[in-house]
């Protein structure tokens, strides 16, 4: 068994997106319930959520954007930048706690208090751009954690793996010119789904060329295609890059039962992906693995998917990777 941290806070539930919005508090409740019913909570080490210091938010987001977000949220506005991004006065604090909680999990990993962690946060982050809220995302939790690791813990190379069904445009853009952060994303093909980026030829810019890799997947594909692309695109790239820490943008929305997109991954497929990522972390990153929740909207599937995910992080039996 490994020492696995678990980040969760009641305040994440207060980010209210109104009725009918898919990115809703029930998602986290379903995940929490799933871990509880699977008897996993006693095995997990709680990670406390502190609000992120502004200087860390500023490593990724522009001043005017941060001010605008704070004013809109605390001022009671219901949206930021686009109708997609529904919010409330508590959204600002929840977003700070999400970014800060993920940073705390990163700190605990580096301080050897835990081996890895699963961060069940809201709002999600990977669509958030430097100066714009997008796709239900306000602060880019994963990107902020990457900068925190580099600037506080002497980490030179951070590897980010994003298997949310949508391309993480915000994360890609944050690091596309930077050879010290490798961004890999596998997602539904951008011609069919949000946000319309993440094509194969988007491979980084300038000094960062070759440190961004995208695997778009055509609609309707399943475990085999994910496995083929991950083996073809991700494994060799990370072998060359040898990340010292791996951060995972974990999205459960490629599942066959998730209505958000048209992917057909099974629960077994998700397990295979996570086993592959664990193996990468052991090979190159001394097991240091920080998993951060992004999307995943099938409330009836989230308990099982989250429990599987955490069991793999904990390295509980059964540990043998099952072929999808």
């Amino acid at each position: 068994m490994r020492r696995t941290g678990f980040l969760y806070d009641q305040l994440y539930l207060l980010h209210d997106t109104g009725p009918y919005h898919p990115e809703r508090a029930e998602r986290l409740l379903a995940i929490h319930q799933g871990l509880k019913q699977a008897g996993l909570l006693p095995h997990l080490i709680p990670v406390p959520a502190h609000p992120a210091e502004m200087k860390w938010i500023q490593t990724i987001h522009s001043e005017p954007y941060i001010r605008r977000f704070e004013e809109h949220s605390l001022g009671g506005r219901r949206t930021l930048d686009c109708e997609d991004n529904q919010m409330c006065p508590a959204t600002w604090e929840a977003a700070l706690l999400a970014a800060g909680g993920v940073m705390e999990a990163a700190r605990m990993i580096m301080a050897n208090e835990i081996d890895n962690a699963f961060c069940a946060v809201r709002p999600p982050g990977h669509h958030a751009e430097s100066g714009e809220a997008m796709g239900f995302c306000y602060f880019n939790n994963v990107a902020i954690a990457a900068r925190y690791l580099q600037q506080t813990w002497d980490i030179e190379r951070v590897g980010i793996i994003d298997f949310d069904v949508h391309h993480g445009n915000g994360t890609q853009h944050a690091f596309e010119s930077d050879p010290t952060v490798f961004y890999y994303s596998i997602h539904q093909h951008p011609s069919f789904t949000y946000p319309g980026t993440g094509r194969e030829f988007e491979a980084g810019k300038g000094a960062g060329h070759g440190f961004t890799k995208n695997s778009p997947v055509l609609p309707g594909q399943s475990d085999d295609e994910y496995r083929r692309l991950i083996e073809q695109d991700l494994l060799p790239a990370f072998k060359r890059f040898a990340p010292q820490v791996i951060i995972v943008s974990t999205g459960f929305d490629a599942h066959a039962d998730d209505e958000m997109a048209d992917m057909r991954l099974t629960s077994e497929g998700f397990k295979w992906i996570m086993h592959a990522i664990m193996t990468l972390a052991d090979q190159y990153s001394a097991g240091r693995l920080l998993s951060v929740l992004e999307g995943g909207y099938a409330l009836e599937r989230l308990p099982e998917l989250a429990a599987d995910h955490v069991r793999i992080l904990l390295e509980m039996a059964p540990t043998t990777p099952s072929a999808p």
Partner: protein, 225 residues
């Protein structure tokens, strides 16, 4: 929406041994500017453009002067001397959106279309793309593509547009295409949102069928021989 549907299949090609004069003649005869260079087994090895040839031409010939020595030098040049070896290619299963963005990114005028075995199966030029994109689309903005099957009768589109509008969702574009069933149409609204679960449900509740976009395209792709 795939390259295989819009590419030119009857590709005019040359071999490395052809002279530039022969290549030029092919371009003139077919009114084209790109010639894929292939081996005998149709494996792609390069591409030669009208610009490559003009660059290799002595200035006196371009000006139409009578210059026998220059003409002889030029006549000895072959396609292999000026072609771009291992050119950028595209596969038949790439989408037209891919091709559009790649052409912008790579600043080329055409992509040879190559299958998984490296064999030339077509060519996709800017001209092909423009034709395909005459009726298209707001793909520069973040959004989600739906695919709705409707009966062909008056008022269907209004119901779709109303439903989407009631959800407060903006349109990037709407594409309407023929379906293989006579009295059906496939409607592809490109919605400027990530939030499609509820609108999909509402459309289903109204009796519309939501198609997996991949299925609709796949059935029209040529079978892999």
């Amino acid at each position: 929406m795939f390259v295989s549907r819009s590419m030119t299949r009857k590709v005019i090609t040359v071999s490395k041994e052809n002279t530039l004069g022969e290549a030029q003649e092919q371009m003139r005869a077919h009114n084209i500017r790109h010639l894929p260079v292939v081996e005998a087994d149709n494996r792609l090895v390069g591409i030669v453009t009208d610009r490559d040839i003009r660059t290799a031409m002595p200035p006196s010939l371009i000006k139409g002067q009578d210059d026998p020595r220059a003409r002889e030098r030029f006549a000895q040049l072959t396609v292999a001397d000026v072609m771009t070896p291992d050119p950028m290619t595209i596969s038949p299963s790439h989408t037209l959106q891919d091709a559009l963005l790649m052409i912008q990114e790579k600043r080329v005028g055409a992509f040879p279309v190559v299958d998984q075995h490296g064999k030339l199966t077509g060519i996709l030029s800017v001209r092909d793309l423009l034709r395909a994109f005459t009726n298209v689309l707001g793909i520069g903005q973040p959004g989600t593509l739906l695919c709705i099957l409707v009966e062909e009768k008056v008022g269907q589109m209004k119901r779709i547009v109303d439903t989407i509008t009631e959800e407060g969702i903006s349109f990037g574009s709407i594409l309407v295409a023929r379906y293989w069933e006579e009295d059906k149409r496939a409607v592809f609204p490109y919605l400027l949102t990530n939030n499609v679960i509820r609108v999909k449900q509402k459309l289903r509740d109204l009796g519309f069928t939501l198609l997996d976009p991949m299925k609709w395209y796949l059935d029209q792709l040529p079978k892999n021989e």
